[in-house]
C-alpha cells in the first residue's frame, strides 16, 4: 500500500487525475494544502470511490475555514496522522 499526496485543487488542476491513474487498488490519497478543496461536497466526487482511503490534512482545512464543508466520507488527519500514514505506507508519491 502506497500513500499518494496531492496538493492541488481538483477545481483548477488536472494533477489529481495523474494521482488517481497511478494509484493501486489499496493505495491511499492524502489531500494537503490547496488539495483539501477536493474534500468539499461536490468536488469530492472527482476522486470516484476512494471511501476509507481518502484523507485530508485537518490543519490545511482549518486554516482555510473549510472544516465545516468537508465531506463526511473524507478522513481528517492532523500532522501526526500524516506521519502515521507515511509509516503505514510502503512509500509515498507526491503529486503537485
Amino acid at each position: 500500500m502506497l500513500l499518494h499526496i496531492l496538493n492541488r485543487s481538483p477545481a483548477t488542476s488536472e494533477v489529481y487525475r495523474q494521482a488517481l491513474s497511478a494509484m493501486g487498488a489499496a493505495d491511499r490519497l492524502l489531500l494537503i494544502e490547496d488539495g483539501v478543496q477536493g474534500a468539499l461536497g461536490p468536488l469530492v466526487e472527482c476522486f470516484g470511490d476512494l471511501t476509507g482511503r481518502l484523507y485530508a490534512l485537518e490543519e490545511d482545512l482549518s486554516a482555510r475555514g473549510l472544516v465545516p464543508l468537508c465531506d463526511a466520507s473524507v478522513v481528517k488527519v492532523d500532522v501526526e496522522g500524516f506521519v502515521t500514514l507515511t509509516e503505514e505506507a510502503m512509500r509515498t508519491v507526491s503529486w503537485f
Partner: protein, 131 residues
C-alpha cells in the same frame, strides 16, 4: 523508529510547500523517527537563502530549517547545480566564481544530486513536497 528523508522543491513564501515540509519534518522528529536529511531541489534551493528577510510577523523559514538541523542533527543538502543557476552560492563557490558576498552558509551545504538518490534509497521513507 524509521529513517526519513524529505525532498523540498518549492521556494519559501511562493508556495505552501516549505511550510508543509518544515511542519512535517518537526512532526517526524517529534514521533521519535530519525530524519536523516532534507534535500532542496528545483526552486526549493531558495530555502537556503541566508539573506532572506521576511517581515517579523511571518515565520522565518530559513532560520526554521537551521533550527531543525541544530535540534535534530538533520543535514540540509542543497543541489549545487540548481542553486548556482539561481544565485545561491556558499563562500567557496562565490570565490570560485569571482562573486562578492555569498548567499548560502552552514548548516546548509551545497552538494550533488547523487545525495538525493542516496538519501531516497537509504531512508525508509522519502516524502516530497512540491510547489
Amino acid at each position: 523508529m524509521m529513517r526519513y528523508g524529505i525532498l523540498l522543491m518549492g521556494a519559501p513564501y511562493s508556495s505552501q510547500a516549505a511550510h508543509s515540509a518544515l511542519r512535517f519534518a518537526r512532526a517526524v522528529a517529534g514521533r521519535g523517527h530519525r530524519l536523516e536529511g532534507v534535500f532542496f531541489y528545483h526552486d526549493g534551493v531558495h530555502n537556503a537563502a541566508r539573506l532572506a528577510a521576511p517581515p517579523q510577523d511571518e515565520p522565518h523559514l530559513v532560520d526554521g530549517w537551521a533550527a531543525l538541523a541544530e535540534d535534530h542533527g538533520v543535514s540540509l543538502q542543497v543541489c549545487i547545480a540548481a542553486a548556482l543557476r539561481r544565485g545561491l552560492l556558499d563562500e567557496r563557490e562565490a570565490a570560485r566564481h569571482g562573486k562578492q558576498g555569498h548567499s548560502v552558509e552552514p548548516p546548509f551545504e551545497l552538494t550533488g544530486l547523487g545525495q538525493l538518490v542516496d538519501l531516497g534509497l537509504r531512508c525508509d521513507r522519502l516524502v516530497t513536497f512540491g510547489p
